[in-house]
């Protein structure tokens, strides 16, 4: 059995990042787009923690914690906007959010 190294974690993180990117780029439902952003953030966190383990210091973990805080703020603000928007336009589809186009 091959021992698990940093590279393994990087592969998982890359996969999660690509999945998140696909979600952000292709889904119509804003909620799922936001969830995909969470996936991307998680991929980054995984990278940071893996590198923290690789270098043997804790700065990566601290960054991961800050990113979690950031994600919480982003989710709160994003979902707030979404609710306000839904109240006005009765839709959560991202391609119908185009008022500023005009």
């Amino acid at each position: 059995m091959v021992p698990i190294t940093t590279l393994h974690y990087l592969v998982v993180a890359a996969a999660l990042f690509v999945l998140g990117a696909i979600g952000v780029l292709t889904r119509r439902n804003v909620v799922i787009v936001l969830m995909s952003i969470e996936l991307i953030l998680n991929a980054v966190n995984l990278n940071l923690v893996a590198f923290s383990r690789m270098w043997g210091n804790l700065h990566g973990q601290i960054f991961a914690i800050f990113i979690v805080v950031d994600a919480a703020a982003e989710a709160a603000a994003g979902l707030g906007i979404l609710i306000a928007f839904f109240r006005n336009k009765e839709t959560v589809n991202i391609d119908e959010i185009d008022l500023l186009k005009w």
Partner: protein, 192 residues
Amino acid sequence: MNPALNSALSINSGMAPVATPWFFYALAGMAVLSGVFVITRRNAVHAALALIITLLSVAGLYLMLYAPFVAGVQIIVYAGGIMVLFLFVIMLVNIERSSKERAFNRMWPVGLAAAGALMVLFASAIVKGSHINDMFRDRLMPLPESTNTQQIASLLYGEAGRMGQYTFAFEIASLLLLVAILGAVIMTKKKI
């Protein structure tokens, strides 16, 4: 303590090998598989449940990386807090027609292609980097697990009256949260 006991327990201070590679493969597989579900499910609640599984699997990976505090934060903030918020909002904005419409937007082939290019980039970076010596090292530096929380605390808050390295950043993060809370409250209020 008798000798039999010692052999039975094999106490191994610092870095007890709590997990085999199988754990990693199981967790990673779960994370990626439910990640796929997140972006493919038509129903947002199913997607959210899949995302919760991904988050918990990633928390397990953190535990394997000797980052128990980050794992705990991941569970309590992401799985316990953010995802409940998501579910709440999904239930508030759940409308029938979304299940009958297209799940993907009109530019999905372009998006998919871009994401594919991203994947190729990552793959080539990893392949290239794994050849360069010491870029992604094979071995992992030891990190003491038993004092992980205390060390993170001393980085964040400092110790013995001195400011920690990240105290200022920490305060700013709290300010960010406050602003986000205010923003969310104001935006969702019907009448201000």
